[in-house]
């Protein structure tokens, strides 16, 4: 288990740190929010991220990627989390890139992966159908119609859904709503007839959309992977996303902790800095412990992916559960320790709290993943 970084990885982390601090600081997210930016992320910055190799970090060199692997991607995401950088990393790289990598045929891989690595394609995974993550509850149906399929259903919380140039839609080709099998992944053009995309403005000022599919016709060549066999791919893709999001949350948690610690050393009341009060010191020491555990879990989860260990589902649930809960705890504690200033929009801690909740709700929160962990462990 590689819980310590190699020199190459440290270098990548330093590059990422510098990029996000200088190019996508929190001010960038505020600007996107305040100008009601139609795209919801900085397109020029995304192109630069592709040039730095971040977009192709999980993609092999033959498709123009850098193939730094999951640990590398985790390092980039952690730094992105520190500045709340809005980018299509989750939607396009973690979710859709992985799905194509895992399930795509040679043509699909060649065409899509090289476009992603170059920063030329934004993609989105249309999965969720209700307010809670539930990857096996799929009511959206794809009915065979000659050599093509007709998709009907409604998807929600589709990350980057309104800017995606290509969708991966999770639809049912067989069985009942709650069956594990009978699920198929389809590549769908959002401009196709019958697709209606509605952007949803979320509390974290990041992109999401509701998407309706009304009898949308797609050719058989749009199937990604095997018909009825989508669940296996989906599970693997989701675990990658869960671990990636955990890495992003680690950055958010660490940043909130650092900022709060700094504040405690500056803010004075009763004639002394409030960081001298034991009531606050002990809470910070406890948070410090929780974050140290978070870091170990995220590093282990990333190396589990990298080494293709068979306990990836288990460690993914551990990571996503712990990081979701600690991110909520840390941002709440951070806000409280900032006092009234923490309640103002001017201070960043509120932005971190909002993002923490959305990241926690993405692909399963603590409750979802504890239940999954227990099931995987056989109790």
């Amino acid at each position: 288990m590689a819980l310590v970084l190699t020199e190459e990885q440290q270098l990548l982390r330093d590059t990422a740190t510098q990029f996000f601090q200088e190019r996508l600081p929190i001010a960038n997210l505020r600007k996107l929010r305040d100008t009601k930016d139609a795209t919801g992320f900085d397109q020029a910055a995304w192109k630069e991220m592709a040039d730095l190799g971040f977009a192709g970090i999980m993609i092999s060199e033959k498709y123009g990627g850098t193939d730094f692997g999951p640990v590398g991607l985790g390092l980039v995401l952690e730094q992105a989390g520190r500045t709340l950088a809005a980018s299509p990393l989750v939607s396009t790289v973690l979710l859709c890139g992985s799905a194509v990598q895992l399930a795509g045929n040679a043509t699909q891989r060649q065409e899509i992966l090289s476009a992603i690595a170059a920063g030329d394609r934004i993609m989105a995974l249309a999965l969720e159908e209700g307010p809670h993550h539930n990857p096996t509850h799929i009511a959206t149906r794809a009915e065979a119609d000659g050599s093509s399929y007709r998709i009907s259903g409604t998807k929600t919380f589709v990350l980057d859904g309104h800017v995606a140039e290509q969708l991966i839609v999770v639809a049912r080709t067989n069985g009942d709503e709650n069956d594990r099998t009978g699920i198929t992944l389809f590549l769908v053009d959002p401009k196709a007839a019958g697709v209606k995309v509605t952007r949803t403005i979320m509390v974290d000022s990041r992109n999401a959309a509701n998407i309706e599919f009304d009898n949308v016709s797609v050719p058989a060549s749009a199937v990604l992977g095997s018909v009825d066999g989508g669940n296996d791919v989906l599970e693997q893709v989701l675990d990658i996303a869960r671990i990636g999001l955990s890495a992003e949350m680690l950055g958010m948690v660490q940043q909130t902790f650092d900022t709060t610690l700094e504040y405690l050393k500056e803010r004075k009341q009763f004639g002394k800095v409030i960081g001298s009060f034991q009531a606050l010191q002990h809470r910070m020491a406890v948070l410090f412990s929780e974050i140290e555990l978070c870091r170990s879990v995220v590093l282990d989860a990333l190396s589990a992916l990298e080494e293709r260990r068979n306990d990836v589902p288990l460690i993914a649930s551990l990571a996503k559960s712990r990081l979701s809960d600690v991110a909520t705890l840390m941002t709440n504690e951070g806000l409280q320790m900032h006092g009234g200033m923490g309640m103002t929009d001017q201070f960043d801690v509120g932005l971190f709290m909002k993002r923490a909740r959305v990241a926690a709700a993405s692909f399963g929160d603590g409750n979802f993943h504890r239940d999954r962990y227990a099931t995987l462990e056989g109790y």
Partner: protein, 397 residues
């Protein structure tokens, strides 16, 4: 690498030949081998196993051979420990001398002291106890008052210690004494003496678990030879702190243990299924199931953190900031584990003695009570949090 593999083969062969079969079975707490002048061995194999391991210095594998140790490198010791685990060998010797005093002597004692004391520790001939806490010096350990006066050819010790683990069974004590009353930290010295010395009295204290592992220890005009001072006069606090580190590392490992190891109850989920019940293969209570998962997840996260810290140390990054949380987190985790066990087992974990409960169940009850001390001994959780706040986070007084 080749040499290490050769060492593994040799070690495996030696253990195969020398570790008695009965020493490869789970061990109850009463069977723990502590050594010492008055050691009793319920099973004669225990003594045989101790002597054989000690003859190779493998009770203290990394200590230099000149002091009776095994002289093994870190890597060789890892191999030895792996091989011991492989055959489920019992620890040949449990000893405060090995865990705490020895490393301090190796670092701070003079040659004569090392030659005198270390080999006896390795062989389990002398059992040591630790004289640190006093009635008026708990968390504020440096406030200790046990008086040590220079009487020319000897020291004279007067005072009282408390929470002295196994003082009634130990042969010698390593003791913090006050040699300068005008200074606090710089007036403490580190002294070794024989518990048979006239004027030493140890009285066991009955704890909430019913056991009496701790004593009040009284010193009345105890004469101690001057050669028994370790390090310089009034510089004992440095040694004391280093020793506390070893103690905290020892205690923090407890958060990872199985259910009172060797109790045969199995993991938390098994206990839940056995004592609460299951439905469709799941623990029947969703609430208990969730609590179990939280506990398992936190244990795993903690184990990974200890592992990361060890890897960072090996990579030469020094003991990371993470290590400062081990005592706090490990002990709190262990306490939570026992609270959860009580919830899983219901009244079956609430027996005290006699019929109606088996040994494993009584063991859980007693261990639950014992676990409360984990976050008090060796520096309370609150003291640990103070250390993290001030030394790691740099928060001011």
């Amino acid at each position: 690498m080749e040499a290490l593999e050769k060492f593994r083969q040799e070690t495996r062969a030696w253990l195969e030949e020398n570790c008695p079969k009965s020493m490869r079975t789970p061990m109850s707490e009463e069977e723990t081998v502590w050594g010492g002048r008055n050691a009793k061995y319920a099973n004669p194999d225990s003594k045989l196993w101790l002597d054989r391991m000690a003859s190779r210095g493998w009770t203290a594998p990394t200590w230099p051979t000149e002091y009776g140790g095994g002289g093994l490198s870190k890597e060789e010791n890892q191999v030895l420990q792996q091989e011991l685990r492989r055959i489920k060998a019992r620890p040949a010797l449990s000893s405060f001398g090995i865990w705490m005093l020895g490393p301090a002597l190796l670092e701070f004692a003079n040659e004569e002291q090392k030659k005198e004391h270390l080999p006896k520790i390795v062989r389990g001939e002398i059992r040591w106890c630790q004289g640190y806490s006093e009635p008026g010096a708990g968390s504020d350990l440096a406030g200790l008052q046990t008086k040590c006066e220079d009487k020319g050819d000897h020291y004279l010790v007067n005072g009282q210690k408390i929470w002295t683990s196994y003082a009634d069974k130990a042969d010698w004590i390593f003791c913090l004494v006050r040699t300068d009353t005008t200074k606090k930290h710089d007036g403490i010295s580190f002294l070794l003496f024989d518990m048979m010395s006239p004027g030493v009295e140890a009285r066991p204290i009955t704890m909430i678990s019913g056991a009496s592992p701790f004593c009040e220890t009284f010193f009345t005009d105890v004469k101690v030879p001057k050669k028994n001072l370790v390090g310089e006069l009034n510089k004992g606090w440095t040694i004391a702190k280093r020793l506390l580190q070893h103690e905290r590392e020892m205690i923090s490992g407890m958060g990872l243990g199985g259910v009172g190891s060797g109790s045969g109850l199995g993991g938390l989920e098994q206990v839940a299924k056995d004592y609460f019940g299951e439905a469709d293969g799941k623990v029947a209570s969703p609430s208990l199931r969730d609590h179990i998962t939280r506990q398992k997840m936190d244990s795993r996260a903690f184990a990974l953190t200890m592992q990361r810290s060890a890897e960072e140390a090996k990579a030469g990054q020094g003991p990371g900031a993470a290590s400062s949380i081990f005592k706090y987190y490990g002990t709190e985790l262990n306490k939570r584990r026992y609270e959860l066990l009580l919830e899983l087992m219901g009244t079956k974990a609430l027996g005290w003695e006699g019929d109606g409960f088996d040994d494993a169940e009584i063991g859980v009850t007693r261990s639950w009570l014992r676990s409360k001390g984990n976050s008090i001994e060796g520096g309370t959780s609150e003291v640990q949090l103070n250390v993290v706040s001030k030394r790691v986070l740099g928060l001011p007084d």
